[in-house]
Amino acid sequence: MSVATPEGIDLARSLDESLGKILDTEALLEATRDDLPLPAESTATMVGLGLHGVALDEGSGGLGLPLADRVRLAAVLGRHLVPAGLRDEIFGAVPALAVLADQDGVAPLLDRLTEGELRAGVALSSRSDGAAYTLMPEGGELLVLLGPDRIELHRLEDGVELTALNGLDAGQGLSRVDATGSDPLASLAGERAARVRREYELSLACEAFGAAERTLEISAEYADQRQQFGRPISSFQAVAHLLAEMKLALETSRAGIGRIVDLDEENEADEAELELWRATLAHAVPAAARTACEGAIQVHGGIGFSWELGLHLHYRRILAVQFLLGGDSATAELVGANYLERRSR
């Protein structure tokens, strides 16, 4: 039973409201145009919302929210296109530091990170070639490198090389990571490390879902208002079916997210099954989000392609998520390889 907690629901609602006030389209467009972070005061307000404890156990000083709440919160972040670096701290860096917290010097860093006094970036190293990219927040001092089943925590000043790139999802501090010259401050290999990565990947997928769902809402409303040939464009079947296809893509993804939350809570599913499920969602959800967002742009016609409407902001974010996770083909191949491997056992 994937029941979200009352605390989680309240938090998601108040977060939705707060973020709606902080992140307006104009500010996001400006940051994207200039490839710069949002104004410092907006960032400070968001960091101060106390979200860093969302994915952290109560024992470690967090909120101890179940997965049911976390997927919803990740989707709320996606709706509002919250800076990727903040998302990475909440769903990547904090849980990673929590599993490293018994190693020398990590616990104080975790405290400072959750208090918003210290910033950290997260990088997923590619399963195929090890390439890694991070969205480093301004003033970031730490890098969490998530391998397939290994976590490394690096101090940037210890020899991590970051090459700034011209990000498509601009203003997020996209950089290529080379940590080969740095000795990690702490590291962990094995199942717990793998789980941190998989849950982080799931939060990215949920973020893309949230961003895409927003574009569908905007599009359905627009289609009922926009008049052409003397009637709302939603009355044309070609347009209505395009919107229905977007809905179809998102609803099957919604079911998939619901399923993994239930499996996670049932404790019946074996870890291998859950792993295959997470890989499946990491493939399916961003793909569905992309379908929906591309549909949204199409439904709007010329204005959908414009700078000012800002649907490109959602599109940039969804594409970024899809390719941080490996891209459409690579994630499909990973699912297939995983499935074939199970089948051959």
Binding site: A75, G210, T252, S253, D262, L340
Partner: protein, 386 residues
Amino acid sequence: MTMGQLPVETLSFRPEDETLRAEIRAWMAANDPGAPPEDFEQRLAALLAWQQKLHGAGYIGLSWPERYGGSGLDLRAEAVFSEELATTGMPELINRIGVYMCGPTIMDFGDEGQAERYLRPMLDATESWCQGFSEPEAGSDLAAIRSRGRVDGDRIIINGQKVWTSRAHIARRCACLVRTEPGSERHHGLSLVIVDMEDPGVNVVALPQMLGERHFNEVFLDDVEARVEDVIGGLGNGWAAAMRMLSYERGLFVLERQIRLRRALDELADRMLESGRASERGVRERLGRIHTGLELLKAQGYRTLAGQAADDLPAGSTSIDKLHLSRVEQDLFATAVDLLGPEVALTYNQWTHDLLEGRSVSIYGGSTEIQLNIISKQLLGLGASR
């Protein structure tokens, strides 16, 4: 504008459901008769015997109330049964339409007299059912029903024609949608009437499918006599009853279908493993896509069942199940035939059979285009789309 529900609930199984699953699984393993014979008469007999055997074991109508001959369990038990049934060599239940669609509709909309008369014989398949909905001029536009039912005292005299009527040739009863209010239009004035297929006015003509198989029929109704007391939900309430019946067509059916498709994918995967092609990137990627589609289908099916169990299923939501099923099924067999190559693609075999049969999925039970209409209207609430 507020965001949609996340996460949604999907069907969760309790320990007692898993106990039932283990029991049914063992029973199926010991009693699976394998694929039924090809010959029509023999096949019919085998399918009938199979449902009777399942009924004897207590597995038909698990979610039906005990007073109607069921086991009084819930939809979870029914889901477990559907999933385990799909692991056998036998196709769907011969009286699937009775047990899963007409029966529950009678329980919801009918009266005790109808329940008394019709429910029990559905379970052991002594009376098989069919659904008399589509007509030559009322396919996608179901509300254009022309078949007429003239009410005469306690009788209804029915004239008209039904088409694409699955299993009419083996059915004893038909839940038939007819216009009983003269001059009524569209959704109004319709009634869902139980017709005895042995009435002399009923004439069933086979309509073979593209594979030459006979699953559906034309049904001609000439002065067929039915009874007013056999109207499900009362005169003039046919549309609501018919829509309820259609909503029962999804949930469990998708669950069972999904398992059968999973078996086909597993077999394809095994062929790729045996031939050494499983290490090819393209093969992995394509199997990964089908696996993904099937897992989402299962998740959506569980979501629908959780909604049905809680009696909280949004109108139109099962169009998602139907559309996604048709996409996955067609993709699966197209991919299979493509990966297995010309030797398989050029010959008649299970794979090519299923490829051809897959074309029906996007047509039966409401075409893809109709499902998209339903989604845009009922789920998205778009104003004037037609």
